[in-house]
């Protein structure tokens, strides 16, 4: 009895220790966003700002490109997410259900594309954007991100797992492929679409390396690119940690909200990855 109590206590102690390790950095981030620079330097660990000031927030919105980056991030994220979900489910459906020449080869190509590491595409993407005259434009920022091999793969796997009978019925009733897809297949695929939307939303909201080789003009920066720019010294004098931490905090909030609201979909997604191997 005493042993189980002791081991239970130990279990909780370990859990709480790790919860602190994983969450306290965020507490520090939030607290220091509302400190003065001197206070942040003197007491970085303290969770309570003294004195409390929202000066850094004011400066983020009035003294940096933050509002522009926020607008760009929203635009890029919305367009890219819609594009990836739509194109991903169309291609995934075709690869799973439709009979056409070249389907097997395309699927093999898709598997190969999933193995291409994004970081080795930095110079290649710059070359093609430069050649097409898309470098440093909204088109260059958005279009290359519109399709994603993993998204296609996830949707194909989903359609493979769903019985064909419902669509067959619609098709026998005389609906064409496009009609069947739009009014029968997509509504049926709602859970997979939600998962894919969340996955693609966080992916495009957090996207950094692509913006590095696609745009140069600060008016085209997204939040991650603008933040990286703040850190590398565009602020001028001082470390200005409260401002940087505040900007990073604001950039994290949308993903945090989505994460808390749709948590079960995140978990499902990660375990889908585990089955893949």
């Amino acid at each position: 009895m005493i042993r189980t109590l002791a081991s239970r206590f130990l279990g909780y102690a370990i859990l709480i220790f790790f919860a602190l390790v994983f969450l306290y950095p965020f507490v520090i981030q939030i607290a220091n966003s509302f400190k003065t620079e001197a206070n942040a330097a003197a007491n970085p660990l303290s969770p309570i700002p003294s004195p409390f000031t929202d000066d850094s927030l004011t400066r983020i919105f009035e003294g940096t490109g933050f509002p522009t980056w926020l607008g760009n991030s929203v635009l890029v994220t919305v367009v890219v997410t819609v594009g990836r979900v739509l194109f991903g489910s169309m291609a995934g459906y075709a690869l799973s259900r439709l009979q056409f020449r070249g389907r097997k080869a395309l699927f093999a190509g898709l598997i190969a594309a999933m193995a291409v590491p994004p970081v080795v595409l930095l110079i290649p993407k710059f070359l093609v954007l430069n050649q097409l005259g898309l470098y440093n434009s909204y088109a260059g920022l958005i279009v290359p991100l519109l399709a994603d091999a993993t998204g296609v793969f996830v949707m194909k796997q989903f359609f493979d797992s769903v019985p064909v009978s419902v669509e067959e019925a619609a098709r026998i009733d005389g609906a064409g492929v496009l009609r069947t897809f739009w009014s029968v297949v997509l509504p049926m695929a709602k859970p997979a679409l939600i998962t894919l939307t969340i996955l693609m939303f966080t992916g495009s909201w957090n996207e950094f390396p692509h913006t590095l080789v696609a745009v140069q003009d600060p008016s085209l920066f997204t939040l991650p690119r603008g933040l990286a720019d703040l850190v590398s010294g565009s602020l001028g004098s001082g470390t200005q940690y409260p401002l940087k931490l505040g900007a990073a905090l604001l950039a994290t909030i949308p993903v945090a909200i989505i994460f808390v609201v749709f948590q079960r979909y995140f978990v499902r997604d990660a375990s889908a990855g585990a089955d893949k191997g």
Partner: protein, 333 residues
């Protein structure tokens, strides 16, 4: 997969529809993945400096020079490239074991418990790499939180991002002369052996902290599939908790462990965002990685040929690891 009998008309319709449906994805992936890779392969055999177009014929052809500069020609390019390989190798050897063990440990303690702790451990892995790097820069600042915690235990923390000394160097002290006098691939034995720098250790800490949650979720999914009867049988036979873990649970988790380790090996060769934000390869090039070096060589030194060549060597390393993983996974199944 069962397919019903369909009429000829529907089939004909399907052929066109099939291509129509895949067209957008195929066009974008072709135009922004396949074509650029071929273009970069071409550029890696030239001396393009970023002026004009590399595909006009006016750009000097370099043959395999950009590749030999990385491996056989004694010079700064090889020195930097080998340094980046060295740094990334240390990074891989530290990150992969630590994140795997930590992820497994976290999964074992949160298994069968309610959501809060799971959420806490998983949250860092969905946040932006740039935003979280900003937070860790603050934590590891000279008078920052990490050094404040170390001070509580009487340890004087280092200046994390300006200390280029390797861990092995810090432990062993100054190197014996024979290790400094001889070199392989342009780096002395001591350069190879002195361990990841203090700065690299800060980045390793950040990465382990962010990725452990992702892998924890994979272990949790696998734990859910361990048959309850197995555990019960072990318990009836009087096995202790440790014996249960060692002889019943861990063997069941082997496929997932394999997956986590190989995904780790593939992912750790791609570290870029954190390096860009936190250190830019400094101090003294001890956090330079092949991914960041290829970016820097192309976009800062305007040596696009060498930059592209570094990308392709890195590509090869990652593709080999991926093929190895897929092959071993198939054999296992």
């Amino acid at each position: 997969m069962p397919r019903g009998i369909r009429g000829r008309g529907i089939r004909g319709n399907e052929r066109a529809a099939g291509w129509l449906f895949v067209a957008p994805a195929v066009m974008i992936l072709g135009l922004f993945m396949l074509l650029p890779i071929l273009m970069a392969l071409f550029v890696s055999f030239t001396r393009w400096n970023g002026q004009g177009s590399p595909f006009t014929g006016s750009v000097p052809f370099a043959g395999v020079d950009n590749y030999t500069r990385l491996f056989t020609d004694d010079g700064l390019t090889r020195h930097d490239f080998m340094t980046s390989i060295r740094n990334n190798a240390y990074y891989v050897f530290m990150v992969v074991p630590i994140q795997t063990v930590l992820a497994l440990g976290l999964a074992l303690v949160v298994n069968k418990r309610r959501g809060f702790f799971r959420t806490a451990f998983y949250f860092p892995s969905v946040t932006s790499s740039v935003a979280i790097s900003v937070v860790f820069l603050f934590l590891f600042a000279n008078g920052g939180a990490i050094n404040a915690i170390l001070a509580v235990f009487g340890v004087r923390g280092p200046q994390w991002f300006s200390d280029p000394r390797g861990l092995v160097h810090l432990i062993v002290g100054d190197p014996p002369a024979f290790l400094v006098e001889h070199s392989v691939f342009g780096l002395t034995w001591w350069d190879w052996l002195s361990g990841p720098s203090v700065a690299m250790c800060a980045i390793i800490t950040l990465v382990v902290w962010t990725t452990s949650g992702t892998f924890m979720v994979m272990f949790l999914a696998a734990l859910q599939n361990v048959p309850v009867q197995l555990e019960e049988a072990g318990r009836i036979d009087g096995a202790t908790r440790w014996q249960l873990l060692r002889h019943v649970i861990l063997p069941q988790l082997r496929p997932t462990t394999f997956l986590v380790v190989t995904l780790g090996l593939i992912g750790t060769w791609q570290v870029f965002d954190q390096i860009y934000v936190m250190s830019q390869g400094n101090p003294a090039k001890t956090t330079l990685t092949p991914a960041f070096l290829s970016y820097r060589t192309a976009f800062r030194d305007f040596d696009y040929g060498a930059g592209a060549a570094i990308s392709f060597v890195l590509f090869l390393i990652i593709v080999l690891l991926t093929l190895l993983q897929r092959r071993l996974t198939r054999e296992r199944d």
